[in-house]
């Protein structure tokens, strides 16, 4: 008989059988694997996956509005209450000077008194 055939014949008889607890061990590894996968999936979740799907449009709209407000606030200049020259001169002007240079209404009695007083001196 061919010795190689004899070798293969013997090899056919060499078989390992699973023991009684093999299934339990496999199931334990599967469950451990599922738990690890779940944990790693949670770790890998990005911002949007954490938020429930029904709340996403609302949050997206809110974020868009906030972003628009910030952009408008940054890029559109605010209308000044006073001109540059006015704001530069403001601290140095007394009420009487203010009346002479800017106010168009009739001045109060006090202001008129202030304006007239130096001329009397």
């Amino acid at each position: 008989m061919n010795p190689l055939n004899e070798f293969f014949k013997r090899e056919r008889k060499r078989i390992f059988e699973p023991d009684a607890f093999f299934t339990q061990r496999v199931m334990a590894r599967i469950e451990a694997g599922v738990a690890n996968k779940h944990a790693s999936r949670l770790r890998d979740l990005d911002f949007w996956e954490v938020i429930p799907s029904f709340a996403r449009p609302v949050l997206a709209l809110a974020l868009m509005l906030i972003l628009c407000f910030v952009i408008v606030d940054l890029f559109v200049p605010q209308l000044p209450q006073r001109g540059m020259v006015e704001s530069f001169l403001a601290p140095e002007q007394s009420p009487s000077e203010s009346f002479l240079y800017t106010d168009s209404d009739v001045a109060s009695q006090d202001v008129l008194q202030q304006l007239i007083a130096p001329e009397e001196d």
């Binding site: 061919n2 299934t23 061990r25 496999v26 599967i30």
Partner: protein, 177 residues
């Protein structure tokens, strides 16, 4: 081997009892196939566990009308192939980087008989050649079955079988003829 299509569908839906039933039903077949390539019970057990983990990881890819045992055999053989390649690389690294250590550990080993030599020669065969040869000669699969299991063409399997036999005979000398 008959298989329950309903069982596969339930397993795909994540039914734990279906997973358990599949392991119970197919573990003997998986063990038998792995035993063809590995000689230690611990190795066989570890690889069998890996096979089932891979199986349930990719259970969605199984079509219920497909030949499930054939698909499982393919996963098993591929896992064995990967493991054999790893083992071979480790051995080569040991022989390359640790010849003194290897020599000091083997103090005049007894000369093996022909069956021992055949076993060693088979283990030294490239897994690409060894797997089809073992499936043919030990597992007694047809060329068509081997081709399906390994994902090769029948011609490719025949070429590998021819090369494997030739290489084995050259390793064993004339007695392997």
């Amino acid at each position: 081997m008959e298989f329950d299509r309903e069982l596969i569908v339930r397993a795909q839906q994540g039914d734990r009892s279906a997973h358990e039933a599949i392991v119970n039903q197919y573990s003997t077949m998986v063990f038998r196939l792995i035993s063809r390539f590995f000689r230690s019970r611990e190795d066989v057990e570890d690889i069998a566990q890996d096979v089932f983990l891979k199986l349930f990881d990719r259970i969605d890819q199984v079509r219920p009308d497909e030949n499930f045992p054939g698909w499982l055999a393919r996963v098993t053989v591929n896992t064995c192939y990967d493991e054999l390649r790893k083992t071979r690389r480790r051995k080569e690294a040991m022989e390359t980087y640790g010849p003194e250590m290897a020599a000091s550990q083997t103090v005049n080993p007894p000369e093996p008989d022909f069956l021992g030599k055949a076993r060693i020669a088979l283990q030294r065969l490239d897994p690409k050649l060894r797997i089809p040869l073992v499936l043919k000669e030990v597992e007694e699969m047809s060329v068509e079955e081997i081709a399906k299991t390994m994902g090769l063409t029948q011609t490719n399997v025949k070429v590998r079988l021819f090369r494997a036999r030739k290489k084995l005979q050259s390793m064993l000398g004339d007695r392997g003829e």
